[in-house]
């Protein structure tokens, strides 16, 4: 029998019942709720006359529909109603809520790891596709829809088909100025936005081992943009160091037992994967998207694809549609494209290390005239730590706006939008049509690249900025 992969080990440990050859009823260890879907699920449950099966394994926080303006001024009426409903329904069910302005509040995929709720070997779900983020700690984490959310509330279990496995090995040493965000965008560019559909991805290789945990979370965050609803990195000493002492991580003797179990999780050397991809990270340069899918990505020194040079009619049409929406000319260099907005935030890139990287570029410089640049920390704790380090001052002095934690302009559910036709360099994960507001144009990039672009007033190569 061949060895087992990380996915198979975690999966097998959670099977409550085998329902068919490839479908199991899995136990869910952590269920995270947010303001957009949390109260709806709890109300749905109530209307069926059911109770939350395990409130102690369920945690909630508002993030999507909150204003991130100082003092939360400007949260829409409906956003306030959702927050009120989340408060009432979580309290009624005995679910812990990390509320506004309290340590613990934040983007749901930032707070899970930060609080030690997300643990290696755990199954974690949330009604949000970027739940794959938590896989950076060696968890089996994935997004679910509203019906599945109700199912988990009612049963603490979920019916799942066993996915195929894909191992993406990032090998080599990361060049200067190139980040985790660039690594994963480069992979998406290489295998496409559907390249991971139907797979659980395990990210491996020397460059992944070398990455700090926050970088691994960024990598796993974009799994869904690869089409894969699950992405994971095997836990190692860095993982344990990251988790040690976090509020919800095990303590004392229980910690030792947990670490012992977690050391068994990494894929066996002879584990077999359905597909394997190898990426030479030494060839990666800072990435930026030019189109309306994360697979529309080039190196920042690259050229926007010219539809005229593409033979396949479907691909040519897709490029033309994207360029028309983005207001770009095929064949032109991507660098130097003038921008109106910069958004540094989202569950991809709003952790302390992201803010540090952006602040390092911004320090002592000024945001270009005509550009609005926002920094939105991922959580209340990130915000407090950043302030304690003085990062907020660096940003404010450079002309950035320093905001309250939340999803903000990543999805524009809260009135925080890029105006129609305007162009934003964003550290988030989706450059979809209208994602940041109707007819808004989004270019995805790393925090350092976004900060460099804010200073330049145009899409910029951070490697030309003399630092980092």
């Amino acid at each position: 029998m061949p060895g087992r992969s990380l996915l198979e080990k975690i999966w097998d440990q959670h099977v409550i019942a085998r329902l068919s050859e490839d479908t199991d009823l899995l136990h869910i260890d952590r269920h995270l709720l947010h303001d957009l879907g949390g109260s709806r699920g709890l109300l749905d449950l109530k209307s069926r006359g059911l109770k939350v099966h395990n409130p102690e394994l369920t945690f909630a926080t508002p993030d999507h529909a909150l204003s991130t303006a100082p003092g939360r001024a400007g949260t829409s009426k409906i956003g306030q109603e959702l927050l009120a409903a989340l408060r009432i329904e979580t309290a009624a069910s005995g679910i812990t809520l990390f509320d506004v302005d309290q340590p613990g509040q934040g983007i749901v995929h930032v707070i899970g790891p930060e609080l030690g709720l997300s643990l290696p070997g755990a199954t974690i779900v949330c009604g949000d596709s970027h739940t794959c983020t938590h896989g950076g700690l060696g968890a089996l984490a994935f997004g679910i829809g509203s019906s599945e959310l109700t199912h988990v509330l009612a049963t603490q279990a979920l019916i799942q088909r066993r996915p195929k496995t894909l191992r993406a090995r990032f090998e080599g040493e990361l060049p200067l100025g190139v980040t985790a965000k660039d690594m994963i965008l480069a992979l998406i560019g290489q295998i496409g936005a559907a390249g991971g559909t139907g797979y659980a991805v395990e990210y491996a290789g020397s460059a992944i081992r070398a990455l700090p945990i926050e970088g691994r979370l960024t990598i796993c965050n974009l799994s869904i943009e690869l089409g894969a609803k699950m992405g994971m990195v095997a836990p190692d000493e860095k993982t344990f160091e990251f988790l040690r002492g976090r509020p919800y991580a095990p303590q004392g003797e229980m910690w030792d037992r947990a670490v012992k179990a977690w050391r068994e999780l990494p894929s066996d050397p002879d584990a077999v994967f359905d597909r394997e991809v190898v990426i030479d990270v030494e060839k990666i340069i800072p990435q930026v998207t030019w189109g309306i899918s994360p697979e529309h990505v080039v190196g920042v020194d690259g050229i926007i694809p010219d539809p005229k040079s593409v033979d396949d009619p479907a691909r040519r049409a897709a490029i033309e549609t994207a360029l028309e929406y983005m207001g770009l000319q095929g064949g032109a260099p991507i660098a130097g494209t003038p921008i109106d907005w910069v958004f540094i935030g989202s569950c991809t890139n709003s952790r302390l290390s992201d803010l540090r990287a952006a602040a390092e570029v911004a320090r002592g410089r000024k945001v270009a005239a005509g550009v609005r640049a926002w920094v939105v920390p991922g959580s209340e704790n990130v915000k407090r730590e950043a302030v304690a380090e003085g990062l907020d001052k660096i940003f404010i002095e450079a002309g950035f706006e320093w905001r309250e934690p939340g999803c903000s302009m990543c999805l524009a559910a809260n009135g925080e939008v890029v105006a129609p036709g305007q162009r934003s360099v964003s550290t988030s994960n989706r450059n979809f049509v209208g994602r940041q507001g109707p007819r808004a144009r989004t270019h995805l990039a790393s925090p350092a690249s976004a900060a460099a672009s804010a200073i330049a007033g145009a899409i910029a190569d951070v490697r030309m900025m003399g630092r980092s």
């Binding site: 068919s20 009823l25 059911l50 997004g143 679910i144 019906s147 009612a154 229980m254 899918s293």
Partner: protein
């Protein structure tokens, strides 16, 4: 509880662009709030269906006869990628869509379809292209038939194609099964699992802060 699905013969609309994400199927601002069910049909594909001034875009296929009444979509690769928002499926359902035929779907969207009695059919790209061409050859007048029991699709040209589907999901759709009720029948097994797991992995189950 999903509506059962067995057979359907209906107008089908090809929407062949690849990577149509769930943000394009339904914009987020339509989904903010708890009372949204029943309001979403007219916002399905909003950014494609309406011009910036709010009027209908005459070029968009679902604004044209006879596609306006389509109950089947024939879609390009990776349809429904992106966000997990089940509102995408609700909006299509409220718009009258009952089945979607494509070469591949976003994983979460695909699962959400089954939860709402919508049949997503995966067939090879050649079959999808052929179906789209057959439909266009009749200017949408030719209907597409789907038989879930027999696992076949019949194109307007009469060409018959079979498709694969997970037997569990097929049965769930045919009978309109309620998964929550079914799983709750196994509640003893869930409790037994948790009892033994509490010994094996106590750190998962004791979540009260000790600090």
């Amino acid at each position: 509880m999903p509506k059962p699905f067995d057979k359907l013969t209906a107008t089908a609309a090809p929407i062949m662009r690849s990577n149509i994400d769930t943000d394009v199927i339904i914009r987020i601002e339509r989904l903010v709030g708890n009372g949204i069910r029943g309001t979403l049909g007219k916002w399905a594909f909003g950014s494609l269906r309406y011009l910036p001034d709010g009027s209908e875009n005459p070029d968009f296929i679902l604004n044209r006869e006879p596609y306006r009444d389509a109950e089947i979509l024939v879609t390009g690769p990776n349809f429904g990628c992106g966000s997990s928002r089940e509102g995408a499926v609700w909006s299509l359902q409220e718009r009258g869509i009952r089945a979607i035929i494509g070469s591949g779907f976003g994983d979460i969207f695909f699962a959400n379809c089954f939860q709402n009695g919508i049949l997503p059919v995966v067939v090879g790209k050649a079959v999808v292209d052929q179906l789209a061409a057959d439909i266009e050859a009749t200017q949408g007048a030719g209907k597409v038939s789907i038989d879930l029991e027999a696992q076949t699709i019949v194109s307007p040209s009469g060409a018959r194609h079979s498709f694969e589907i997970d037997p569990r999901r097929r049965e769930g759709l045919l009978k309109g099964l309620d998964e929550v009720a079914l799983t709750l029948q196994r509640d003893d097994e869930i409790h037994a699992f948790q009892a033994s797991d509490r010994t094996a992995r106590p750190w998962i189950h004791s979540t009260r802060i000790s600090a």
